[in-house]
């Protein structure tokens, strides 16, 4: 069945998730993957829905969600295969230090240069403390020692601390 990506962004209030998923359920859509979070009170949700209904019909069904102007809703097709090649080795990159512009772009630029792919990212600003936690897939054969050194060099320039560790899951 075709997949649609539904994004909902805007001011938070109780009931958004129930309302959006209710409209999709009444269309016979099946939620596959979804994620939602709040960033400084800003609501952000991305749903992947399997449905045979055309995009226009889904947009129309979701129109009431955006009716009061506080939320933006977008519906887009998801290509059949979005596989990004062979799975890499998952690693957790943790960065923290004094807030300043460019921490995320500098540190994840180092990861990008070895072909690492960010699969999850959270940043938090708490007072002057800036925290970045990113899950990155590193391609097979990545020299993780060299990458860790490059990350430390970048972190020294920014005056932040960095750690990189494998997060291999254990099969039980």
């Amino acid at each position: 069945m075709p997949l649609l990506a539904v994004t909902v962004l805007g001011a938070d209030r109780p009931g958004i998730v129930a309302e959006v998923t209710g409209h999709l359920s009444r269309l016979g859509g099946n939620l596959e993957d979804s994620t939602m979070t709040l960033l400084r009170g800003h609501f952000a949700m991305l749903l992947v829905v399997a449905t045979d209904r055309p995009i226009g019909e889904v947009e129309q069904a979701l129109a009431p969600v955006a009716a009061d102007g506080t939320l933006d809703v977008a519906v887009r097709p998801v290509p059949e295969s979005t596989a990004t090649g062979a799975p890499g080795a998952p690693h957790l990159l943790s960065v923290h230090g004094g807030d300043r512009p460019g921490i995320v772009s500098s540190m994840l630029g180092v990861v990008a240069r070895v072909g690492g792919n960010v699969t999850d990212l959270t940043t938090r600003l708490s007072g002057d403390l800036y925290v970045v936690v990113a899950e990155v897939d590193l391609p097979a054969g990545t020299d993780t020692d060299a990458l860790a050194s490059a990350l430390r060099a970048a972190a020294d320039e920014l005056d932040v601390d960095v750690s990189l560790r494998a997060v291999d899951a254990d099969l039980l």
């Binding site: 080795a89 899950e135 291999d168 899951a169 099969l171 039980l172």
Partner: protein
């Protein structure tokens, strides 16, 4: 320390059940450790675990049987500290648990997902040994402690999915053995 494993008949390799099979979600029944069917299933669990790459433990519900019985062997695992070798245990429970820490787990019955789960890094586990009926207490730590908790959970109808640390603590499994 000698082997904790009783004498067992030759084991058969059984198919492993995957979620959402209901047998994985129901609490297992207490078993009679001297029942020949229980002893045979203990051998089968161990045999199935041993042919499954990377598998360090297998509980009866994972082969479709709602019993409180599992096999476990973390020998050679890089994250293991204390290692008791191969063990089969019935009606087991965690008696003491401390030093909680988060780790990422996968499960043969949930092959495409992993989850971040808090488990005790030190446990005292007690159960009965199939075939002899003797009470066995195992005090262990680190990875072996995690494995015992995972298998005892299976016997209670719990998957790691029931214990994940948060809404963003479930992950697509990225590496396959």
């Amino acid at each position: 320390m000698g082997s904790l494993l009783p004498e067992l008949p030759p084991g058969n390799v059984l198919p492993v059940v995957r979620a959402p099979a209901h047998v994985l979600s129901g609490a297992g029944a207490d078993v009679d450790p001297l029942d020949p069917a229980v002893v045979q299933l203990a051998a089968d669990l161990l045999a199935t675990q041993r042919v499954s790459p990377g598998c360090v433990g297998l509980a009866a519900p994972q082969v479709g049987v709602g019993w409180r019985l599992f096999s476990l062997d973390v020998t050679g695992h890089p994250k293991a500290r204390t290692v008791h070798g191969a063990v089969v245990l019935a009606n087991a429970e965690v008696v003491e648990a401390s030093r909680w820490e988060k780790g990422r787990e996968g499960c043969m019955s949930v092959p495409d997902l992993t989850g971040d789960v808090r488990r005790a890094g030190r446990v005292l586990v007690a159960g009965v040994v199939p075939g002899t009926g003797e009470r066995l207490e195992v005090r262990t730590d680190a990875f072996e402690a995690r494995a015992y908790q995972h298998e005892i959970d299976h016997c209670a109808g719990l998957l790691f999915l029931d214990r994940v640390a948060g809404a963003h603590a479930i992950h697509q499994r990225k590496t396959y053995l």
